[in-house]
Symmetry: C2
Subunit: 353 residues, 2 copies
């Protein structure tokens, strides 16, 4: 049996010869161990150990040999629902990544520029192959920087740039929030509501404007007025306050019998206010949320909400990255962009009886 | 200037010489770039690039050069609260790790043996330095395996072995669940309750038995009967059902006026049942949960619950690993074991008026 090659450093081929398998099998042992029989896997691992073979994950020059590490930023811990949704997404992403032999590496950063510094460090010290970004916004410097560096990435969240298909276009997967809100409005109309109000985020939120558009479009299509609306920060107490305000019908305006909320946090605040006013959620005032957070199912009455298919988002993101890293698709030249439909989950809070 | 050393592979010393800095500075450039001036960092990075230096993250023999990667397993995504608590913990852990220059690497595995296979793969392909384990249980094979391999690890969750300080002892950080439940019982006693029931998990759960003990101890200390109890799976509907059953007072037994629940999921199910029976949570039947999940604050009425200090748990775990990896402490010889106190968060569900 031949010993290791020149320079004393064992190569993948050395391992293959020692284990009497193909180089592809050694590669699978490293990247997709589940694809091998336990016996073959043990033989390859023994050979790796005997030869002291070290898979070279920092060799950026060897593009064919990838580290199979995908970096994701986590933000400062918060107790709010949006943060929890991202935690759940992270979990789904780790699961999807694993199924294609990738591992997720988390870097913590506060703000976009800290995020880029963290990416740079990760690439230099750990040879991360690709990144998944969240929270895309207009004129997002992160995408431009990653493009410039030739780094593979994809975003959970579409581009909000003026020309999303222009030269700065990137790969993303997103959930069609406007469609979700339209489904909520249509459901409330079937329950007999004709004055359906909207509780949204401040109008500088691109995500919030998209959902607002869903409410306006659905009301218009149904021939209903789209006139009762409010824009507040995404906090429980803001939901409580705005519900009091809208139900008090400022300046003698119309009183809504249903409120479509842009988040579960705001909707749960509205439910608290209904309880305080002695009103029943559903029969007296119908309420819907967004995210289908665990709270929506567990609160009483149950909160009708819009479910984001996080597992599908994660699987599609990993598929995009894998295609580019495998050389199957050049996403920089032709970005993959997928808008997934959400699903309305009806519970008692929106049922007239 | 000298060229690279023998075998053609540049070493850290080669980089230091080329950049005219110390080896420690090169190490810092790799592991703590923020500690260097941008100018020095650029010089080191140029030298790394010119020499094609590849930080050798798979060299297990060079204990001094660590990868600064910490592995954590994630389980299959679930929608329940316990899973969400772990997602929140993961987030806190990523944040704590980052503050000491570590990155978290997530591996997905279903079951303990798949977890060990994933650890082995991670160590062979990515040179992970240490692991954080969750969900420790009696006769946990993972700890023994990691000990045997000489791998640094710590557990969120104490050892449940018969002799936790014996030769198999390991480092852990946990939250004192029994103390949390005692605090809930004491609070309910101050609200005037004398028949305080317990809604627990099946008795084969070590965590559940610990919390049961807290209820028994507190009732005994207060001179109250500890006689109304039930053990059910951790599901919302199980909480609904058990509440009906306990309030119907089987066999003419005592009817509890307060229910201490082992989880928020069960407590939220109990709240649904109270609403169905036309009873007010708080004035009619007091209810407490465990975890202080976002739902506890956002449901109506708010659910009194027991908050786990996840950020503190994460910080302590990272501190333990860092001490061992830095050679400051040999945790295998003298395990670090920390039981953190939880905090009772009182809301309307347990207030008599």
């Amino acid at each position: 049996m031949r010993g290791p090659s020149r320079h004393g450093a064992a190569t993948l081929d050395d391992v293959a010869r020692r284990a009497e398998v193909s180089a592809m099998t050694v590669s699978n042992a490293l990247n997709h161990p589940a694809r091998l029989s336990p016996e073959t896997l043990a033989r390859v691992r023994d050979a790796i150990e005997e030869l002291g073979y070290r898979p070279n994950r920092s060799a950026r020059t060897l593009r064919s040999q990838t580290s199979r590490l995908v970096g994701v930023r986590v933000e400062r811990s918060r107790q709010d629902r949006a943060a929890l949704l991202l935690d759940q997404f992270l979990h789904a992403l780790a699961e999807s990544a694993s199924s294609l032999g990738y591992h997720l590496i988390l870097c913590h950063a506060a703000g976009d520029s800290a995020e880029l510094a963290a990416y740079q460090e990760l690439r230099q010290t750990t040879a991360v192959d690709a990144f998944v970004l969240t929270g895309a916004h207009r004129d997002d410097a992160r995408m431009a920087w990653l493009r410039e560096q030739g780094v593979t990435f994809a975003s959970f969240g579409r581009s909000w740039d003026a020309d999303p298909d222009g030269p700065g276009a990137f790969s993303w997967v997103d959930v069609d929030g406007a469609a979700g809100i339209r489904a909520a409005v249509e459901h409330l109309a079937t329950q007999g509501h004709t004055e359906i109000g909207f509780v949204g985020w401040p109008e500088d939120s691109e995500l919030g404007r998209d959902r607002l558009r869903g409410w306006q479009e659905a009301c218009t299509a149904l021939g209903l007025p789209a006139r009762v609306r409010a824009h507040v920060v995404d906090e429980f107490d803001a939901g409580r306050d705005v519900a009091h305000r809208l139900l008090d019908a400022p300046r003698g305006g119309p009183v809504p019998t249903a409120l479509v909320c842009v988040s579960d946090t705001l909707a749960l605040g509205v439910l608290r206010t209904l309880s305080e006013r002695g009103l029943r959620a559903g029969p007296d005032v119908a309420v819907t949320g967004f995210d289908n957070s665990p709270s929506a199912a567990l609160t009483t009455p149950g909160l009708t909400s819009i479910d984001q298919p996080l597992a599908d988002v994660a699987a599609e993101l990993v598929r995009i990255l894998d295609a580019e890293l495998s050389g199957v698709a050049a996403t920089a030249a032709s970005p993959a962009q997928t808008l997934l439909p959400p699903r309305l989950v009806v519970r008692d809070s929106s049922l007239s009886r």
